[in-house]
């Protein structure tokens, strides 16, 4: 199986281009799938049409999620993911927002965000962000199993029948 992509949920095309440019400058290619609204993000993660082909639309390794999105906000997407009964609820989610409001930051963490990044003012900072993101989330971080069963509270391997 090819490497799981980063799912970028961002409605601002300018931001998308600048983000893609920054990731494009990295030494290693980072596969990225881009969606423009919260509804699409939920449909994608659920594997609903038109995203029902997991070969073409695999479960991402990390989601880069904007807060202010059309139809369904980043918060709502985040809430939806954490509410899932399947292992999908473990999906690492990194908020990427222009808001530095503590209200937004706190709410994101309350809802289970794994990280919160503010959109940088300059593209050199954005380059730095892309590089650090890759190093940490796609390198250092140990990814969870997003396909197995969610933890039931029992130690693994010991099943009483």
């Amino acid at each position: 199986m090819s490497e799981a992509p980063v799912l970028l949920v961002e409605d601002d095309p300018a931001d998308v281009r600048l983000i893609q440019r920054a990731f494009g400058k990295l030494d290693k290619n980072v596969p990225m799938i881009r969606l423009t609204n919260g509804d699409d993000a939920v449909a994608y993660l659920s594997g609903l049409a038109p995203y029902d082909n997991r070969g073409a639309y695999p479960i991402p390794s990390v989601v880069l999620l904007d807060i202010k999105l059309p139809r369904r906000s980043g918060f709502e997407v985040l809430e939806w993911v954490r509410r899932q009964q399947s292992a999908l609820k473990r999906l690492p989610i990194v908020i990427l927002s222009s808001s530095r409001h503590s209200v937004d930051i706190n709410r994101a963490f309350d809802l289970g965000a794994n990280s919160y990044l503010a959109k940088p003012e300059s593209i050199s900072q954005l380059d730095e962000l892309a590089s650090q993101f890759q190093a940490y989330w796609l390198g250092l971080n140990e990814p969870p199993d997003l396909h197995g069963e969610p933890w039931t509270g029992r130690p693994p391997g010991i099943h009483h029948v």
């Binding site: 601002d12 300018a14 931001d15 600048l18 440019r21 202010k68 222009s98 808001s99 409001h101 959109k119 003012e121 300059s122 593209i123 050199s124 954005l126």
Partner: protein, 508 residues
């Protein structure tokens, strides 16, 4: 009564009895023949009515009655009643020999012989004038009360007595309403709900009913009544009716309603204000988010152009790009300053004791290292002001930024921040060695977007001191500036000093 045949002291028993009756003075005891003619007369009767036995024996007893009673044949009615029922009791006015009246309690008892033939009547009369007078005065009192409707009801709730207050309040005359059920005073809805019956039941069960509600006058108009119903019981506890006292408190009710309405309106306005505050909050949020997104794009692509296509540009092109990037930075600052200004104006400020030095230190941390090096702080660690930590810090930061910004080109900036208690306040002073402000400009500088210098000399948005002005205003303080061109400026703000022993708040 059974009398012994022996009697005593040799006197025959029926004579003893006669002597006793004769000598009773507190009761008039006399005998009438079947037609009502007086046949015996005791001492009590003589005293009470003023007739000697010889004056009255042989006369008809109707002589004791008032003309009004005679017109109604009351004496005949009483005799017939007693003849029929064996006993007749009455209370009413009777007339003495001299024409004066007294209030009498009268018991007329039928006397039959051993064959059951009517041979006459015994009559016992008591003078109850005194008791009647006090009852009468009481009744007059009740009847005369005009501010309260006071009336009595029988056990079923039918109206008995009816005072003037009741007449005025409910518009019924006594003779119109007597005998009618009191539910007539209630609204249709209350009657349907069985309220009148429930009131009587409650009064009986708990000994009392008290309540407020709409009542209906004879003309159908309504008034808001305060009502007390009390059950009336006789000596042995048998219920024989109710008393009801009603007060028209429509005015009080109207006043209460008006107050309630005002309170509701106030509540609504508070809600509206909270709502408009929330809308402003949402507005500020979208300003910070949406206004900055295109800015980030402009700045980002300008820089990308410079990085990715540098070889395609000459110096003129690179210069234009620099202008774009600088304008974006300025716009970013402007948006940030406007947001700060809006927040200071809008934020719910709850004032509490704040340690001044801590706020100063917070503000100083936000200054760059270079500026920090040229700042002297002289604030006692125990000074506390009534303020809001966040707003106070922002205000101090803006004062310091301002002091550093307008320094003279010929000398290094030196800024001194100090604080002194002054009466019930604390005066915070920021002194710089900068370019100073001409007297004619010293008021303008506090206004938003006011700038005294071109952007190239002193960049800025013209919002910094406006934030200070607004912050001081919101924290119920004062502010001012003393300055001379070329000799630097001294900005000061005064904030109320926090009371001793008060607990520090506002730390977030």
């Amino acid at each position: 009564m059974v009398l012994s045949d022996r009697g005593f002291a040799g006197v025959k028993s029926h004579d003893v009895f006669r002597l006793m009756v004769d000598s009773v003075v507190d009761y008039a005891i006399f005998v009438l023949d079947p037609t009502g003619v007086v046949v015996s007369w005791n001492l009590g009767a003589e005293r009470l009515k003023g007739y000697k036995p010889k004056e009255i024996i042989g006369k008809h007893f109707s002589i004791f009655y008032t003309p009004a009673d005679l017109a109604n044949d009351k004496p005949g009615h009483e005799i017939r009643g007693a003849a029929e029922l064996g006993r007749f009791e009455d209370e009413g006015w009777r007339v003495r020999k001299d024409g004066s009246r007294f209030w009498a309690n009268v018991i007329l008892t039928r006397i039959l012989d051993e064959h059951g033939t009517l041979i006459g009547f015994g009559k016992i009369t008591r003078d109850l004038t005194d008791r009647h007078q006090s009852e009468f005065r009481y009744r007059l009192l009740v009847e005369g009360v005009v501010d309260y409707a006071i009336y009595s009801m029988d056990v079923h709730g039918n109206v008995g007595s009816w005072n003037l207050g009741a007449e005025r309040m409910k518009r019924y005359k006594a003779d119109e309403i007597e005998g009618k059920h009191f539910s007539i005073f209630y609204t249709e809805e209350d009657r349907k709900k069985g309220l009148p019956e429930r009131i009587l039941r409650t009064a009986v069960e708990t000994g009392h009913f008290e309540g407020e509600g709409w009542r209906v006058r004879k003309d159908g108009s309504r008034f808001w009544a305060s009502v007390v119903v009390t059950p009336l019981r006789d000596d042995v506890g048998n219920l024989y009716g109710f008393s009801k006292v009603t007060r028209d408190i429509s005015e009080r009710k109207a006043l209460q309603d008006a107050i309630q309405q005002h309170a509701d309106e106030l509540e609504l306005r508070v809600q509206e204000r909270e709502q408009s505050n929330a809308e402003l909050e949402a507005f500020a949020y979208s300003v910070s988010h949406d206004l900055r997104a295109p800015l980030r794009a402009i700045g980002g692509f300008a820089e990308a152009l410079r990085q990715d296509y540098d070889s395609h540009l000459d110096d003129g092109g690179r210069d234009y790009l620099k202008e774009i990037v600088a304008a974006v930075a300025r716009m970013n600052t402007l948006v940030q300053d406007l947001l700060d200004y809006g927040r200071v104006s809008r934020i719910d400020i709850s004032l509490g004791p704040v340690n001044l030095l801590e706020a100063v230190n917070d503000a100083v941390r936000q200054l760059g290292d270079e500026r920090r090096g040229s700042l002297r702080v002289d604030v006692a660690p125990d000074l506390r002001v009534q303020a809001q930590q966040q707003v106070l810090t922002q205000m101090i930061f803006n004062l310091l930024s301002n002091a550093f910004k307008f320094h003279s080109r010929n000398s290094a900036p030196e800024v001194r921040l100090s604080a002194q208690p002054k009466n019930g306040a604390v005066r915070l002073t920021v002194r710089d060695n900068g370019i100073g402000i001409a007297p004619q400009h010293q008021q303008r500088i506090w206004q938003v977007f006011e700038r005294l210098h071109d952007r190239e000399s002193y960049p800025g948005t013209g919002i910094g001191l406006a934030i200070v002005h607004r912050a001081v205003e919101r924290m119920q303080g004062n502010r001012g500036v003393e300055s001379e061109v070329g000799k630097g400026s001294t900005f000061w703000v005064e904030l109320p000093r926090a009371p001793e022993n008060s607990k520090e708040t506002n730390h977030e």
